[in-house]
């Protein structure tokens, strides 16, 4: 067992190393950032000085090893644009993105599970059909367009909600959060709803499918035969059994919600990591691009590893297969 965990962790590490090579080489192929940073009127001597200052004059493999050495020291190089350590820039913006992603998943769960339960318990009801049809639209609608429509309706037409930024924030545990102020929540509502839409459809469909799978099972029949109230059967017996796959999926989706926040943050000018990466790609700010991609790679590899390990602990069949 510990042997397997070790092997799996090693595998995750090799994925990270492989991705670091891919990311670094890929990003180093793009246009020369020097052209963007130095005014065309600069003379050759100044150019050479700046190039050397950024370490761009060295061969690619040496740049990569410098970069690797930097990573181990938590140093991804300074942003060409902000002239600050790029990892610091990203981590500074991480709370905003994290807050948005968690709020979105919260909305998805709070709305998605009850609706999914209802649709699963009463598949023929009109409301269920409408809910299911709407969830298909939720899958089809591109996130950015929904965001634009939300702004058009709730900000431009009705004037209810602000369109950009995080609003007032308050420091908790040394980090600024919008979650704890009324103004911050007003700013958070639309972006979170926007980001939640796709996950909402997913949670809803998953819950419905799980309910429909659970209902014909023997233990539900026995629970009913025991004379338990229908409410108790649903809320205790059904819900308990469907929560395992749903919680797993929600955990897995946290990573992709953070990734897809790129789109929502761009629409609502939410000052998170996603907006930073788009701005950085547009200004060819290489250290920030590389650092962002590496942070995401590590995040995803870690999430995948944890889920794999949890499965192994929970399900003996997976464990046997891993050993065999």
């Amino acid at each position: 067992m510990s042997h397997w965990i070790f092997r799996r962790a090693l595998q995750a590490l090799s994925v990270i190393v492989a991705m670091s090579v891919i990311v670094f080489v890929a990003v180093s192929v793009i246009g020369n950032p020097v052209d963007l940073l130095i005014s065309p009127s600069a003379d050759l001597a100044e150019r050479t000085r700046v190039v050397a200052g950024l370490g761009l004059d060295q061969p690619l493999w040496r740049q990569y090893f410098n970069f690797l050495r930097g990573i181990t020291e938590g140093n991804f190089g300074r942003s060409f644009v902000y002239n600050e350590p790029s990892l610091k820039l990203i981590l500074q913006r991480f709370p905003a993105t994290f807050e948005l992603a968690v709020a979105a998943l919260l909305i998805a769960v709070v709305i998605g599970i009850p609706l999914g339960l209802y649709a699963g318990l009463r598949p023929e009801a009109k409301v269920s059909r409408i809910v299911m049809a709407t969830s298909i639209v939720g899958f089809s609608l591109p996130t950015f367009w929904v965001g634009i429509m939300l702004i058009m309706i709730f900000s431009v037409q009705l004037g209810w909600l602000p369109t950009t930024g995080r609003g007032a924030t308050v420091a908790v545990l040394g980090v600024e959060w919008s979650f704890f102020t009324a103004d911050g929540l007003r700013h958070l509502l639309m972006p979170a709803l926007n980001l939640a839409l796709f996950k909402l459809s997913l949670v809803l469909r998953l819950t419905r499918a799980a309910v429909q799978e659970t209902l014909p099972m023997d233990f539900i029949k026995f629970a009913r035969a025991q004379g338990l109230s229908p409410a108790r059967v649903v809320w205790v017996h059904v819900l308990k059994n469907i929560m395992i796959p749903i919680v797993t999926v929600i955990g897995l989706e946290l990573g992709s919600t953070i990734a897809f926040a790129v789109v929502t943050e761009s629409v609502f000018a939410w000052p998170g990591m996603g907006k930073l990466i788009i701005d950085s790609i547009n200004t060819l700010d290489r250290p920030v691009i590389v650092a962002y991609l590496m942070v995401i790679v590590v995040l995803f590899t870690a999430i995948n590893l944890i889920v794999d390990l949890l499965y192994t602990l929970l399900d003996p069949r997976v464990r046997l297969e891993a050993q065999g």
Partner: protein, 302 residues
């Protein structure tokens, strides 16, 4: 939906295409989706003949006509049914031309990714062993990262451009085909006809591509239809973020992005109508895909 199927089984002289169509047409919803999709494709194909204006021809644009609301009359005398954008482009014309880019990129990338992914998936299933392990490890790695990130990474590396977007979409999509092709092929390769082909000592490529492939196609067609919709949505998203197609060839996504900055001043039409066109296209493809899945999936048949 399933009622006519037992009858179809009793009518052996009916051609398979006829039968397929009848099963497909059992849902009026799906036929409607297909019809709208066909109209959209035809409009995109014949754009130069049906649009009132060529939005790429600067000579035909009049900056004085910029940002006119829908239904305004142009200086040249015709009506801008859906209004104009900031450069005085007729939105309807710009949308139909934008559809060409969106559909071209979506369908083109789905075809290339389909060929690459299916090929690799079949090879993995047929040869097994290390080849299989290597290819599937790559698929797993690819699928563990969200599509938007992979596309971002690639476009950050190669820059904007229509062909670059196609490349990014192909890299995002191929793994889905590979996984499906492998799964289907693993089942099919145990069948007798493969054994027969092998016992004839046909070249391996013949067995794989002429015997195995045709029998793996149905689920791949279903995947392809959904992937076209996904690709169109992803392309629009990337263009909206400013990482997709260049300004000179605006797709629907870029048209929406251009209109976004005027949204706050109440000029909704520049974003709204391309968005609706995008939406209708994606929903129609998904409806068709849904029905294809029901018709082609033998397990869904009762």
């Amino acid at each position: 939906m399933n009622a006519p199927e037992s009858l179809a089984a009793l009518a052996p002289d009916e051609s398979s295409i006829g039968r397929f169509w009848r099963e497909f047409a059992s849902s009026r919803f799906a036929v409607g989706g297909l019809a709208v999709f066909c109209i959209i494709v035809l409009a995109a194909l014949f754009a130069p003949w049906i649009t009132p204006q060529n939005p790429y021809d600067l000579m035909q644009l009049d900056i004085v006509d910029g940002r006119l609301p829908p239904g305004s009359a142009s200086a040249a005398g015709y009506t801008y049914w859906l209004g104009t954008d900031e450069q005085g482009r007729d939105m309807l014309s710009a949308m139909i031309y934008g559809l060409r880019i969106s559909l071209g990129v979506g369908i083109g990338s789905a075809i290339v990714a389909g060929i690459v992914g299916t090929g690799l998936g079949l090879i993995a299933a047929y040869f097994g062993g290390r080849t299989d392990a290597a290819i599937m490890r790559l698929v797993d790695l690819q699928l563990s990262f969200p599509s938007i990130l992979v596309a971002l990474m690639i476009l950050a590396a190669v820059g904007k451009g229509v062909m670059n977007v196609v490349l990014a979409l192909v890299i995002v999509e191929w793994a889905y085909y590979a996984r499906t092709a492998r799964g289907t092929a693993l089942v099919e390769r145990r069948r007798e006809y493969i054994e027969a082909a092998e016992s004839l000592a046909l070249p391996k490529w013949r067995t794989v591509f002429l015997h195995l492939l045709p029998n793996c196609l149905p689920p791949l067609i279903v995947i392809a239809s959904f992937q076209v919709a996904r690709a169109i949505a992803l392309e629009a998203t990337l263009s909206f973020l400013g990482l997709g197609v260049p300004v000179t060839e605006p797709s629907l996504g870029l048209l929406i992005a251009n209109g976004f900055q005027y949204m706050l001043s109440g000029k909704y039409w520049i974003s709204l109508y391309p968005g609706i066109a995008l939406l209708v296209t994606i929903v129609c493809i998904n409806i068709v895909g849904d029905q294809l899945r029901d018709v082609l999936n033998p397990r869904a048949r009762k």
